[in-house]
Amino acid sequence: MPNPLYIYVLSLGSAFLLTLFHRLDRSAASLVFLGTLAGSTLISALGLFHLMGGAASVEVLTAGFAPPLSINLRFGLQEAFLSLAVNLIGLLGGWYLLAQLREKAQALILFLMVFMGINGMIMTRDLFNLFVFIEITSIATYALIGLERDGRTLAAGFKYVMAGGLASSFYLIGTILAYHLTGTLNIDGMIEARGLLDNPLGAAALVFLIGAVVIELEPYPANGWALDVYQAAPCGIGAILSGGVATGALAALYKLLPLLQVGHLPVLVSLGLATFLFSNLLGLKQESTKRLLGYSSIAQLGLMIAAIAYLRQTGHEGLVPLVVGGLFINHLLAKAGLFWLAGVIQKEQWRDWSVLAGNPWLLLLFGTLVFALVGFPPFPGFWAKWELIMQLAAGGMYGWMAAILVGSLLEAVYLLRWLGKALRSETQEETQPGFSGLAQPAIFAILLYATGWYCAERVGEASLTSLLPLVTAAYLFVIDRLPIPSRIVGLVSLASVGVFSYQVLPGLSGLAWLFGLIFLPGGMLLIFAGLYREDVRQGFYPLLTGMVMSLGVLLQAQTSLGFFYAWELMTLSSYLLITLGKDAAEHALSYVIFSLASAYLILAGFALGYAGSGSELLTGLQASGSLAPAVLALLALGFVVKTGGFGFHIWLPGAYTESDDDFTAIISSIVSKAGIFGFLVAGIYLGDQSVGGLDIAYLVCWLGLLTAVFGALMAVLQEDAKRLLAYSSMGQVGYIVAGVAMMSHLGWVTAVYLSVNHFLFKGLLFLAIAGVIYRTGTRDMYRMGGMIGRMPITFFTSLIAIIAMSGVPPLSGFGGKWLLYNGLIEKHWYLQAALAFFSSALACLYMFRLLHSVFLGQPKLKHKDVKEAPWWLIAPQLVLVGVILVISLFPQYLVQPISSAVEPYYAATLHWAGNQVTTDIGHWNGFLTMSLVGSVFLLTLSWMLLSSTRVQRVKQFNIAFAAERPFTPETTHFAYNFYPYIEKSMGGLVRPRATRFWNGLSEWTHSLAATLRSLYTGQAQTYALLIVLYLILMVTLMGGV
């Protein structure tokens, strides 16, 4: 176990010697410099290794005396961890900045001093010694900020010194007062003598002390100086500031916190959360890359302050390593990585980051760093935030919980907006940035995965299955980079999902198994269809495989954390897959914002469930007690938003339409079912609840059916084939949501039956349309026409799909409708049943429009040589048609398994007698219906075939056109604005009100951010004033206790 004092010895020694080496040889100086940093890192690492192995912490007492006569440095587990993190950032940061630093020996020395100072801040147990180390760090940092010697950096450095000076003054005053009262400068001694501080003077001392440290941590609104520093300083320095210096201040705060009374702690939590919320809000308006990262840093620091204070307040200090440690390492690695990457890319504005597009490795790096910050799994921030939210809910602190979730959502918005820009290359300029300076962010990115895994293990969620989606995506990514045809990668991904299904599917039962059939084998079928594209799509197969596997993991989840983990993985991968579409950038962003909002609602629901029941298991939701209505309301709202419920649907048409055609099939028929599955899980464990007299399920049913009506109505008015199908999906899933909301046997059977059916026919339709779009090159229906002659198989499959979707007997869609109406009438929900009828009738309109505009009518001349769709697309369609026909003939093959899966929750009201099924009021015999219709059809057909009339096929323009000859197909094929009278009679219902609402909300948020931002005038005087005012604020808030 190396003595930590050597860190200081090494740093100071090298500092003194560097001047000599620098004079002799620049390279020697650099070697000494890096060697020192490496040595410090090694010492910390060895120390941490020993401490984790169970060694006792090292107490360094200067001059061998006991405190308070000497200075006490402690090197325990936490100090070792922080020290390692800081030294690592120092090592990599020094390497990153080496070219700039080595010009002057002073720069190298100052750099070493910064990190020595931070190590001191971490390890010292003496109040005044802490002040000394703070000063060392500040002065060295100030000098380093001005490294580039231009006006902006020098001004920023000055503001930094001014703020630091104020903070140090406050700290000194506090120290003096505290020393006067307690007689010791040693922190441990002072904690023991804490009672001596329980008077106005002591309170003042504490406020000054804590206030000074908090100000060092850049709270809102007294942080304008910090933002200017982040913006002006070179990126390498920014990394050190946000990662290194802030760590020291955080360590100081953690040390001093036991001095405060418990009543003071909520103040700190509120201040921290206010910083988190408002900094993220202001980040929305930011254009400069570095300033944006500055806002994010400040926000994360605020969150960490709040977390430390809250955990201490509730006495859960044991969770500090997971929560605060996780947040800390997440912030450190990701933020430093991003600063370093920004230094390599050298684009002042984040909107110019499209130079990254087309470079998969850089995108992987950037994506890793951004997603870690946003809080996606598998990174440490995800696990830490989860635990924190759970603790907040358990403590009943719903307001704070909401503040964190809203702040996280805002942060996600501006970070993903930035990522979206990088994913799409708008300009022709695709200069590849140089590779020097990329090693450091790359190392940190790898560390993010490693620390994420470690956190997962600590939480208990690190199983092989939950790791599989990531591992598979990783090796597929590597294979994707090889110069092999993309179809091979596709086949490998298909095989991977196959093996995964084989492992996972037998272990599922009941409803999870049924949904597993949709997700896994169904997913495989649709992945196979995607092989029709032979062009290279960067990252398509890794992401797709990861997504399908994460859906499998979702089905297996036993704990709410496991469920949420898989949910977030699915959100992440589906978002990235949408961005692959040509014009999909803004739609992908709105998709991910709504998805994250829904995820946070679900998180809040789970948190309240944990608070109510104390159990982490999903089954524990049953015991939520008085919180059950709120849990159900939150979960239901989250799942409704995810499935595109009416009012929250504005992301749906854009996301579905603009993504790749085969992916639209997957997202519409498979991913939306994840929301349904979640809703069923909530229903299983919570049942129906009412909030304030309003039955939640009743409301959700109305919402689902309204979604069905409006989805159908909007689909009727579309010209774009994919957009029509997107609205149609929205409507059909509305039925499913209504089915779940019925909370009865028939309701759930309907929901699952419709889910399977929707997968079958919507997947089929999207594949068919993908084929048509692939061959004709357009998505507009009025530009197509007469495709039945050119693409007969596609027409046949589309026809079957549309007949099934419309609910016309004898195909399988009718079963779903029959179950739905029986269920609704059984529940005495009569008006809802009528609404369902109306929506169903409206659906026929757009279905006919699709078939007519695309396949029937007049073929266009330019489509003369259009061929049938590729067999990759046709084969899965035929499989789906086969399944539809089998289910139509023998509905019991589908309904009976579903019925027995739902039976444990609601007693069966369906009774089977052979092929006939009856409910309390209705009866249906699918086999007989199909046979009857089939026989009548065959009889009539044979009559026609046997008749002696000679049937003659004529050319397309040979129609009775009232003494005129049709001129061109374009003027004869009626397809554009097909339903003007619907627009006239019912169009008032479908004005874009929801879009206007959400746009308005977004505008309002931006305006708020702009207003709040006006505090940052850029003048040091303002900042100084704000710092003093902030201290006064703290006095007011904490003094009252």
């Binding site: 109306f838 009738a841 309109l845 078939l851 009548v936 057909l941 019912m986």
Partner: protein, 308 residues
């Protein structure tokens, strides 16, 4: 197996009877209307003449597979609908296959023929066919709402969706007819019938005397004979359905014919008296007062019959 052959035979009988009756009925109606307008009109057996004449033609022109199948699907829809509705209560011959499904099956199966025809006409390539079909579907969506509400009201009242059982509950004289026990539902359904039979003011779909082109001109010979046959059978099916649901059903053929004739007179008289609505007017019409009547019927039934 033999039982199914017997049933099949009975089905053939009832379909034939319905076809003959339907064709006769259309002839009777045409002659009555003509007389009321001061003309002589066609003979009552004109329907038969038309069907046989068209079927006997030597050639037919087709625009493709769907076009060929269109009238076949249409007729399948018509015959199928008839087969799901019990024509006579308590009769084995005319009972049809009511046990295959309930009223929901019938409502949705009506769409089968319409969709098949729509696809066939659409492949004809005539723009007016598409316009007409679009209007037809939109109007269907509109008039189905009051009818659906009426059906739901019936389901509440009789606690069943089975047409056979609904007829069975009305066998105690006129006082037990739905017309008397649930007048609101009957009114809503009758207004819906106006839309579905396609007489004025809701004949914008075919728009006779206005659009001389479209499906009526594109389909000829064998095709149009099937379509005309279907018009008879499908009309008979709808009328029998209404009779079963609202007017007490029938236990013998004479009562059936009288009742269906009476029901059919309603849209005919309304059609003779009123001019045509535009399509958007027609859609809005059905979604206003008739829908309100339907909702009132549901609320009434819920209140009255759900006391248990």
């Amino acid at each position: 197996m033999s039982e199914w052959l017997v049933k099949g035979g009975y089905a053939v009988v009832s379909v034939t009877v319905a076809a003959v009756y339907g064709l006769l009925l259309s002839g009777i109606i045409a002659r009555t209307l003509a007389r009321s307008q001061g003309r002589i009109g066609v003979p009552v057996w004109q329907g038969f003449l038309d069907v046989f004449k068209h079927a006997a033609k030597r050639t037919a022109i087709s625009h493709g597979v769907m076009f060929y199948l269109g009238p076949i699907l249409r007729l399948t829809g018509g015959i199928g609908t008839l087969l799901f509705v019990p024509m006579l209560y308590g009769s084995a011959v005319f009972g049809n296959f009511h046990f295959a499904g309930d009223i929901i099956l019938i409502i949705y199966f009506i769409l089968f023929g319409a969709l098949g025809m729509a696809l066939g006409a659409s492949e004809g390539g005539h723009p007016y066919s598409a316009i007409g079909i679009g209007r037809g579907l939109a109007q269907f969506a509109a008039f189905e709402v009051p009818f659906a509400l009426a059906v739901i009201s019936l389901a509440i009242q009789y606690d069943t969706l089975s047409v056979y059982q609904i007829v069975g509950a009305q066998q105690n004289g006129i006082a037990s007819w739905t017309l008397v026990t649930n007048p609101l539902a009957t009114i809503a359904a009758m207004i819906s019938l106006l839309g579905s039979t396609g007489y004025s003011p809701f004949d914008i779909v075919g728009a006779p005397q206005e659009i001389p082109i479209g499906p009526r001109t594109e389909f000829q010979s064998d095709f149009i004979s099937l379509m005309q046959l279907n018009r008879a059978i499908f009309a008979a099916a709808k009328l029998v359905l209404y009779m079963d649901l609202f007017f007490g059903g029938a236990t013998n053929l004479l009562v059936l014919m009288v009742k269906t004739w009476a029901i059919y007179m309603v849209p005919v008289f309304v059609g003779a008296a009123f001019p045509r609505y535009r399509i958007d007017q027609s859609i809005r019409f059905f979604l206003r007062v008739p829908t309100l009547i339907g909702i009132a019927a549901v609320i009434f039934a819920d209140f009255f019959f759900n006391a248990s």
